[in-house]
Symmetry: C2
Subunit: 435 residues, 2 copies
Amino acid sequence: MHIVLLSGGAGKRLWPLSNEALSKQFLKILKKPNGEHESMVQRVMRQIMETNPNSNVYVSCGSAQTEVLGSQLGNIETILVPSRRDTFPAIALAAAYLHYVKKLDKSETFVVCPIDHFVSNKYFERFSKVEELVKSGQNAIGTLGTVPTHPSDSYGYILRDGEKVIKFVEKPTINKAEELMRNNALWNCGVFAFRIGYILDRAKEHMKFDSFDTFYNRYTKLPKISIDFEVIEKEPSIGCAVYDELWKDIGTWDEFASQMSEPFLGNNVFISECENTHVLNMLDIPVIANDLESAVVVVGYDGILVSSKKGASNLKSVVDKIHLRPMYEQRRWGDYRVLEYKRDNGVSSLVKRIHMNVGQSMSYQYHEKRNEALVIISGKAIITIDDVDSVVAPGDVIPIPPKTKHTLLAATDFEFIEVQLGTSELEEEDIVRLT
Amino acid sequence: MHIVLLSGGAGKRLWPLSNEALSKQFLKILKKPNGEHESMVQRVMRQIMETNPNSNVYVSCGSAQTEVLGSQLGNIETILVPSRRDTFPAIALAAAYLHYVKKLDKSETFVVCPIDHFVSNKYFERFSKVEELVKSGQNAIGTLGTVPTHPSDSYGYILRDGEKVIKFVEKPTINKAEELMRNNALWNCGVFAFRIGYILDRAKEHMKFDSFDTFYNRYTKLPKISIDFEVIEKEPSIGCAVYDELWKDIGTWDEFASQMSEPFLGNNVFISECENTHVLNMLDIPVIANDLESAVVVVGYDGILVSSKKGASNLKSVVDKIHLRPMYEQRRWGDYRVLEYKRDNGVSSLVKRIHMNVGQSMSYQYHEKRNEALVIISGKAIITIDDVDSVVAPGDVIPIPPKTKHTLLAATDFEFIEVQLGTSELEEEDIVRLT
């Protein structure tokens, strides 16, 4: 089976844990069976490998996500979208990739799946049924629906007659949702199976292409539209498989809290006299939540959110007012946290704790104006300064004046403190990459 | 007039902003008329100088407070208590100091005043009346009462007949408080005037002394008891002055919030859809408070508190569970903030931002095991390393290996990042002070 995971862009709905550099599907805040934590994309990948071990998995994403994807999933095959244009263009690009690059026949099928849903393994076991709906020749498209637990006005519904879809109803009123439930409608999971040629034909309605490159270069000719509006809702022949276990969209803190096995996540959390309250703490300092009801407290590197649960899904306009640099980023070579960023009387200083994974290296670079200093905390690395290599170890202190070429290659897992100092803002722009 | 300010010990009631190293009276969280912020002790001192410019002011405190007092008040005269033994011993020591050290006659009077109360200048103007009650020969003790605004069960009451105190009632029931208010009782402000000899006589009931030194050395012979229980409630002849303006005990977050002119203090605070909610933010990252009612959110270097206002006065048992090093301290030479303290696989690292005031110096010191590195951020200082002086300026990086003697003298206001690295915990104990 060929499975294309749709990895969406940065969202602010889980601020302060997700930021422009880290979308919610990369947050390692879900508990694995062994007690460790994993991200949504890691959880989905693990579940696919457990249920469909012979499948080929591809991730459709923007280039900004390749570093964190590599760090979380290892050698995953990505299909990079040239620009963000919604799900129809992304799925069409995936079809072109499978046909022109992977040389699959147009009659072959593939399954697309979002990474937003917290589900049991049975969800992924149902993918073969979704695919079979198309392979059998009975349907142009296969889809997956889950049994609603309550009449929600936040989801899309599938009205069906046996395995045949009658119609899709997007975000109905509560009254209408109750009626849909009485008629055995399902929530639309956003999982679809298509034949490759079927999707390429839809794309050809907008532009010509005869190779992956021409498709890629003409990508912006495709309309910015979802697969639901462009394809699904226009197709009369759709089959529907049913999934009837745990299904949660964890796009809001309220929804996220509802899947937490304990009322807290992180260290040094003290909850007293609270009801239906969840606390997440990513910082090292303690958090006390006292005498609160139905609240969520989220302490992240980028900020602190305290909200009622019901109000926590409606914060975009407030979060949009915040314009600060990300305080935590995952990169190809590891990750870093900003310990302090300060601008005082024209002097900018930035203190980072940087962690490099064994075997990884930074680009060879220099800065025009910025002073840097590194203090090695743990591990070993080879440092190259103006083309001279040496080994650095804990306790070593390395000044890097402006215009000094430098890079690091981590010989072990490697941690250091970096202090940047400049007279203007320490933008990432003052960096000349030589490799 | 001789005024003795009683500066109490570290309290946890205003956690996370007060800690073992910083009592609540030193928190710079009160707004001055010019918009800047000052601490309670600075506010009280400013108000005394505005109302009684010719008075002599002394601060009774423990030795742990001398550095921060010097930093906040400059050359203030302190009367250091040898150990913490409640207000009667502290006031008796102050009397002994005024008589034996300052050579005041036993017939002279002094006024004692706590630093817990947020009041208008008129409060301090009333001190001369409190003193006059004793000087006139009409009373053994003078005291100050304020007109209650509501029947509280948290305060002490003064029942009176004109200027004469009938009796003191400590923390009555609400019903009893209502009755006291109907009888024109006042809240006890904790301000008292005594003749020096009167207090020395009370101390002589417990021990002999004929000099300040003998008094000081026998200090622990005095009972651990408040001035109220040991002296005030036993004395039949007490006069009472009345103060009838703003009076707030800001010992809890609820009380503190009630004197805030705006619902927030600090930078990057975003409050939406909240009612009767106050947010204090000492960190650089933003805080969003959304859809909360009667809550307080306090974000400090030492931790984060989110609580209902009514529950915020009853947190001692929760705060007592927290055993982490202070993340911010004020010192004689300036202050510092811990940016990160981490223990990983036997490696301890501590990153501080240190600010030194111009003209101040550190002690000359070395460490047995700890590696340090300094990265200069702003200002200039003279650094002495193994008896050799040099000037350091922004961008300079100074490694300090174990056993290296070192000190700094700030030639201007001076800021640097210090990284400490060791294999055990980085306790302050690994420091050998040479000066």
